[in-house]
């Protein structure tokens, strides 16, 4: 419907929306709605559609076509732009993920509207939407507003309050008749990363990060063990990645991943500005470092000045003990 808040669905590529969509839908509802989901997929499931309704989508625009997977900008943008021209949404929101980041930028260019990427707050100011986003390595916050609708923004995961899921709700599903263009990009293959068995860095509620204090690649196993006990992802600082101890995909910071977990724990991480840029919006920050002068203590909620090689095994033991209770 005209004036709706569209939420572009990020899914698990198996027919289920990712749980970050609860945050996007929840925010769209808080901003006044009405909330509509727009789902581009090669295969949706009934369960997935129910999930979107349960989070609060009043309608689902379902674009289901084999050509839509894997994501390619030149295939996704035209049908959504055509639908937007017909339906005149007030806003288009999506979570920050690898494909939404690119898709939203391309769609904004196609529609000729502004995009606020990696927003950490959205608020109505009269009849205008104002986005807040970190800039300059998170050293400042920038507030921005749009010249016209639809207001387009991507939302940093784990920052916005998720909608509560309600059982038994359903929403009308519309399958608009839209031309899906042929792809220019030919899909060759997908190479899976060796699984650590731990959550994805940007999606995890708890992240453990190992810095130069880890002393070598062989020692990350103690963080992975702790991560396995409490369900945490394990990341690294730039110093550790540049030393070749961890692959780049594990880097947290300005030239790595931006994370915003409920709990961040840094082990032997000094807290260089470029690392802080990637984790300073974490809700609770814990620092474990031998050096009491390490800058990370300035932003930490809790700190232990000590040897991580003593602290980590104790933490693992303590959490194990509690879980057994």
């Amino acid at each position: 419907m005209a004036g709706a808040f569209w939420c572009v669905v990020e899914d698990d590529r198996k027919g289920m929306p990712k749980k970050v969509m609860a945050e996007v839908i929840g925010e769209a509802a808080r901003l006044g709605g009405p909330v509509e989901a727009v789902w581009l997929t090669d295969k949706a499931t009934d369960e997935g559609l129910k999930q979107l309704a349960g989070w609060g989508a009043g309608k689902v625009w379902l674009l289901e076509n084999a050509g839509l997977a894997p994501y390619r900008g030149e295939v996704w943008v035209p049908p959504v732009a055509e639908l937007a021209a017909k339906e005149s949404p007030k806003a288009i929101l999506a979570p920050v993920t690898s494909r939404q980041r690119e898709f939203m930028a391309r769609l904004a260019a196609k529609l000729g509207v502004g995009l606020s990427a990696d927003s950490v707050s959205l608020a109505m100011d009269g009849d205008k939407l104002v986005a807040t986003r970190p800039i300059y390595a998170g050293k400042l916050l920038s507030k921005a507003t749009w010249a016209k609708q639809p207001w387009m923004a991507t939302l940093r995961p784990n920052v916005f309050k998720p909608a509560d899921a309600q059982d038994g709700k359903s929403a009308p599903v519309e399958r608009p008749s839209l031309a899906i263009p042929a792809a220019q990009m030919k899909f060759v293959e997908r190479r899976e990363e060796a699984s650590t068995g731990l959550p994805e860095l940007t999606e995890a509620e708890i992240v453990l990060s190992g810095g130069r204090g880890m002393k070598g690649p062989e020692n990350y196993v103690i963080l992975e063990e702790l991560g396995g006990v409490i369900g945490a992802a394990v990341g690294a600082s730039r110093a550790a990645v540049d030393a070749g101890w961890r692959p780049h995909r594990f880097q947290i910071g300005q030239t790595g991943r931006t994370i915003s977990p409920k709990l961040y724990m840094g082990f032997g991480v000094s807290g260089a500005i470029q690392h802080l840029a990637g984790m300073r919006t974490s809700k609770v920050i814990v620092a474990i470092n031998k050096d009491p002068e390490a800058p990370i203590f300035k932003i930490a909620d809790y700190g232990i000045v000590g040897d991580l090689f003593e602290v980590v095994p104790e933490l693992t033991k303590e959490f194990k003990r509690l879980l057994e209770k």
Partner: protein, 259 residues
């Protein structure tokens, strides 16, 4: 093969940034400027493509004020052949789309087979210009690429783009836009010879009017910059490791309710 690389001048990460008098831009006094790190990966990759093919031209392009010339000089010192500087006060408040539109005109004039840029500039961290440029040009694009291989005829490029949990490999017809992710290469340091040689290389100045951009109205405007809200002071837990860990776990569960 002609390759165009987009580079942006940004404040050094370690530089302190202060809000300027108008409250909408930073105070640039005393700032150390660098080439945005991701753009260096793009420059390096462009140079490697040229070197591998044994021929071609790499053109560096930057949109920015007078000082952005330093960034173009750095790209020339690394080995780019010539540079184009889009320099116009009318573009001072350009948002990503305005920037993409301006650069698209340059690209149409230059007609390269490949455009490379960094995955994002580390000042405003929008990460949108590459993709928007592709949309304006109607070209395919791949973001956050970790590897590339241009085919012998320079008709297509095979790329691996980083996604959650893996790498997706695609073949793109050229021309195309690619944005570089860290890890795809190790950028070279300019040699003394490169630095000296860069002084003689051409930097062409371009104004908004040269690009047919009469008036520039950003679609997204900054209304205000703000300092970060202060975090409440933290608590250092002292004592024997065992006791400190016990107390930390208790505090995380009961006080912070973080786990």
């Amino acid at each position: 093969m002609k390759i165009l690389v987009l580079v942006k001048q940004v404040p050094d990460t370690a530089t302190q940034v202060k809000i300027g008098g108008d409250g909408k831009q930073i105070d640039t006094a005393g700032i150390t400027w660098i080439v945005s790190p991701y753009d260096e990966f793009a420059v390096e990759e462009a140079l490697r493509i040229k070197e591998k093919r044994g021929q071609g031209e790499v053109v560096a392009v930057s949109l920015g004020p007078d000082r952005a010339k330093e960034t173009l000089r750095s790209a020339l010192a690394m080995g780019c052949d010539r540079a184009i500087h889009v320099n116009d006060p009318a573009l001072a408040t350009a948002d990503t789309l305005t920037t993409a539109r301006a650069l698209a005109v340059v690209i149409k004039q230059e007609a390269p087979q490949l455009v490379l840029c960094g995955r994002q500039a580390i000042d405003d961290d929008m990460g949108a210009v590459g993709a928007q440029l592709a949309e304006v040009l109607g070209w395919p694009c791949a973001s956050w690429i970790m590897e590339e291989a241009v085919d012998a005829d320079a008709k297509s490029v095979r790329v691996g783009r980083q996604v959650e949990g893996g790498l997706e490999v695609f073949e793109l017809p050229l021309p195309a836009v690619l944005s570089a992710q860290k890890g795809m290469n190790e950028p070279r340091y300019p040699t003394l010879k490169g630095i000296m040689g860069a002084k003689k290389k051409e930097i062409k100045d371009v104004k908004a009017a040269d690009l047919g951009l009469a008036s520039v109205t950003p679609e997204l405007s900054i209304t205000k910059l703000e300092a970060l809200p202060a975090r409440p002071p933290g608590r250092v837990i002292a004592g024997e490791t065992k006791d400190a860990v016990k107390e930390l776990v208790r505090a995380l569960r009961e006080d912070a309710k973080a786990i």
